[in-house]
């Protein structure tokens, strides 16, 4: 192993750990909140079973606004809110707050889009069989959209990694922050390249896993 990696091993491991915490919470928020939100967005659209123009427009606008913030500005803008929730605006825990917010907005949009790809006839068949809203979602929509949902989560996860790299500004740490502070600011260019290399491997791994899983799930 290159000497520089051995020298900084504890810091590197710590920064990888921080990245995993930040990205992990983002994924958790995406699945637990983004998935239901995206589904609700879809169902509130015109001609859908929960059609509600007011609710749809409001949520749609909210998701768009969050996603149009340059992420760095969202982090700064949210500082008061973060402080309210975590008690501090500094550190890895505080960094997860803006990350989960963008994660929810990001994934909910991708969920809505994968649901829009389902042929209209599937919904008609579900309704004609007397399925309830809950049954329509779990026994029809998620069954037919499952590979799209997995691919969406893969894309989202990779974006979350990218977002997490700038969390150094609020002391969030992570691989990106390490690469900037040690690699760039202390002129250890080789260290920076190694960090980028780790990120590339990580992203490749996630993309490969996501695509393989999606392909396995898709029988259409």
């Amino acid at each position: 192993m290159p000497e520089v990696l051995v020298e900084y091993q504890p810091e590197i491991w710590q920064s990888i750990g921080e990245t995993f915490i930040m990205v992990g919470f983002s994924i958790l928020a995406a699945v637990l909140v983004g998935l239901p939100l995206g589904t609700f967005l879809y169902l509130c659209r015109k001609d859908q079973i929960l059609e509600n123009q007011a609710v749809f427009s409001t949520l749609n606008l909210l998701v768009n606004v969050i996603r149009s913030f340059p992420f760095l500005l969202l982090v700064v803008f949210m500082i008061p809110f973060t402080r309210l929730i975590v008690g501090t605006a500094f550190g890895t825990a505080a960094a997860t707050v803006p990350l989960t917010v963008i994660a929810i907005a990001h994934y909910s949009r991708l969920v809505e889009q994968s649901l829009l790809d389902i042929p209209k006839g599937v919904m008609e068949a579900a309704i004609s069989m007397g399925a309830s809203v809950k049954e329509i979602i779990f026994k029809f929509l998620y069954v037919e959209a499952r590979s799209g949902l997995v691919l969406g989560l893969t894309t989202s996860t990779i974006s979350f990694i990218s977002y997490s790299t700038i969390m150094g500004v609020v002391g969030g740490g992570g691989i990106g922050d390490f690469a900037i502070r040690y690699g760039y600011q202390q002129f250890r260019t080789d260290l920076m390249f190694y960090m980028i290399f780790i990120m590339v491997i990580l992203v490749q791994l996630i993309q490969f896993t996501g695509i393989t899983a999606a392909r396995k799930l898709d029988k259409r």
Binding site: E124, S128, M129, G130, K219
Partner: protein, 248 residues
Amino acid sequence: MIKIQNVSKRFGDYEAIKSVSLSVNHGEIYGVIGASGAGKSTLLRLMNLLESPDHGEVIVNDDSLTRLKGRRIREARQSIAMIFQQYNLLGNKTVYDNVGVPLELSKVPRQEREDRVMESLQFVGLDHFKDQYPAQLSGGQKQRVAIARALVNQPKVLLCDEPTSSLDPNTTAEILTVLKRINENFGVTIVIVSHEMEVIKSICERVTVMANGEVYETVEIEPAGIQKIDRSAQGFVERLTHGGDHHA
């Protein structure tokens, strides 16, 4: 038994159904024919409230669907099965699981579900295909899976929306034979919407001809009736479509 009373339905400014009344007898095979845009599919979709009417009443199996809400309407729909031109199967479920869906929705225990799914698949002759996915089947086979799925909950009424319009003549004949057997063996009331006179003639006892959202006429299909349809209705339908609706 199905009763449609003074039902009308608009989509925006477009009047799809204009105060239509008709009734389908118990155990009958009933046809609805007309050019595209005549309102025949909308009429069929009113029979399970896939479309809800703006005015009028829809009564199926003695339930006034237009007065039911929520859970009650969903329960009523479980005895009104429907098949579609595009089959509308779940591509990510096997043939077996597709057919089992209505039983899952009506909370039938797993053991009984298995027997009934296999029974239903045997009826349409696809029990050997139970582990395949719809993408591996031909159009006719997909429609037979859809029929098995429709049958599995022992419906009283079967609504068919252009069930053979994506199929070749041989497969069409096969599907019509299956529908006829369902009617004869289980006494299921069947309503078929089609733009193909051949389909209607070969299976229906009565047919309603629709044009511009209205009932043009309803005729019995007996030998004499066929003549009558041939002369008036068929000609009428063809005139409306200017001799070529680009359908087969």
